[in-house]
């Protein structure tokens, strides 16, 4: 459903995403892991057609985002990183606006908005102005926006970032539930989320995939039974001294072999 082929993005001389390839099959929930600055958001922005890749291509349901951006965008629901919203609107007003832009009209629009409000538990704030919402409700409102047109593919950028543990739990449940009928790619740097919600996970570091597998495989790969250990082995800490970097490079080779 999502095929990413040799996707590369450079900002000036900085390579944010480096020749990345992976695919997400129908019915999969792929966790996209990596430290801050690994290139997760940049990859997702390219897959959703927000920014053009420097090279490479991404296909959604077989449609290239480079060649047919409009067609590809119709099939994707996207939750951007900080859950941006128009603060001067009410929740329902905002969802109606997004539904209209998605070319929904009349009763189809009304139903879509009601369904999204129900799915994301927004009934109690439906008539409230967005600038008075708490963070959890803001996230869910933006998530509701991505579900309006009942897309086959959902791309969620850090859907649980900045939420309290209860809200995190709710969102994970929601992702799992949505994953039964949709293909989902979601990014996070919270490792429990992988076991809680994903069918498969990839770890990226500095624009390159460094590990790929089901949660169970990845835990095996770590050798210590902990995803955190694997994560720390294969990714670079931004405070790492040059000596430490070498070490993590070595262990990366080891895990790559172990994965193969």
């Amino acid at each position: 459903m999502i095929e990413v082929e040799n996707l590369t993005k450079s900002f000036g001389t900085k390579v944010a995403v480096n020749n990345l390839s992976f695919s997400v099959e129908k019915g999969e929930v792929l966790g996209f892991l990596g430290p801050n600055g690994a290139g997760k958001s940049t990859t997702m922005r390219m897959v959703t057609g927000f920014i053009p890749p420097t090279s490479g291509d991404a296909r959604v349901c077989g449609i290239s985002v480079v060649d047919q951006p409009s067609e590809a965008k119709k099939r994707v629901g996207y939750l951007p990183e900080s859950a941006p919203l128009y603060n001067d609107m009410t929740v329902t007003g905002f969802l109606n606006f997004c539904a209209s832009i998605r070319r929904l009209r009349g009763s189809a629009k009304k139903e879509a908005v009601e369904r999204a409000i129900e799915t994301c538990f927004l009934q109690s704030v439906a008539r409230q102005s967005i600038d008075t919402l708490s963070k959890g409700y803001r996230h869910r409102t933006c998530l509701a926006q991505s579900l309006l047109h009942d897309p086959e593919v959902l791309i969620l950028d850090e859907p649980t970032d900045g939420l309290d543990p209860n809200q995190k739990h709710e969102i994970r449940q929601l992702i799992r539930r949505l994953g039964e009928t949709k293909t989902i790619l979601f990014s996070t740097h919270i490792l429990e989320e992988v076991e809680a919600a994903c069918t498969r996970a990839v770890i990226v570091d500095r624009g390159v995939i460094v590990a790929d597998g089901t949660p169970t495989e990845l835990i095996e790969q770590s050798g210590t039974g902990s995803l955190t250990d694997l994560f720390r082995q294969v990714t670079t800490r931004d405070t790492a001294a040059p000596g430490e970097k070498k070490k993590s490079g070595k262990s990366r080779k080891k895990t790559a072999k172990a994965g193969a």
């Binding site: 927000f50 053009p52 409009s70 951007p80 941006p84 128009y86 609107m89 070319r103």
Partner: protein, 242 residues
Amino acid sequence: MTFTIYKRELSSYFAQPTAYAIIVIFLLLSMIMTFSFGNFMRVGDSSLEWTFFFWHPWIYMLLAPAVAMKLWADEQRTGTIELLGTFPVSIWVAILGKFLAAATVWLVALLLTFPIVITVNYLGNPDNGQILSGYIGSFLVACTFLAITMLVSACTRDQVVCLIVSVAICVTMVLCGYDDFTRELSKAASPAVVEAVTSLGVWDHFRSLNRGMLRLQDVVWFASFIIVPLLGTSAILSAKRS
């Protein structure tokens, strides 16, 4: 689609005090100017050219940027541009919708000056065709400034920066063709330079509409000073993403 964006932008203007405040300030300023410096009651200028329309570019150069500054700056500051950019619509739809919404705010402000038209009709026997043409000229100047501000707002996420830069550009465009300024300039520069500078200014085209004339060069001038900034907005927004 354009209408959807247009509707959202317009209701956002009127959901906040911005539009009301700007419309009220515009009405107050234009009336104060007309009745004090314009000497409306004494000069008997029934075409409204000098007493009323003359002041509009001076007011617009300060107020039009305040209306349009948020159009893209806010969108970039809050990140909602990422939503717009992933909806299956072209960026043109958003540019047009936003521009038309800002233009509508000015249209409302201009329409609310109708009492002055009633007054001149009551006091004298004006050429209403010429007054209408004056209104069109005034509206086109406002649209020009709005389009330019929109271009500036695509460059920055900071509304204040956008306001300052756009006011500077609009002030320049108002001063450029203004008689006193042109006279001073012609003492110092060659006629070609004076002509080039004057052609950037709004007055030549604004005045001809005030007099009830619509020349081809006015249409071309207004069309290009509105369309080129809109094209530029699209170019800058795409360039920023790559």
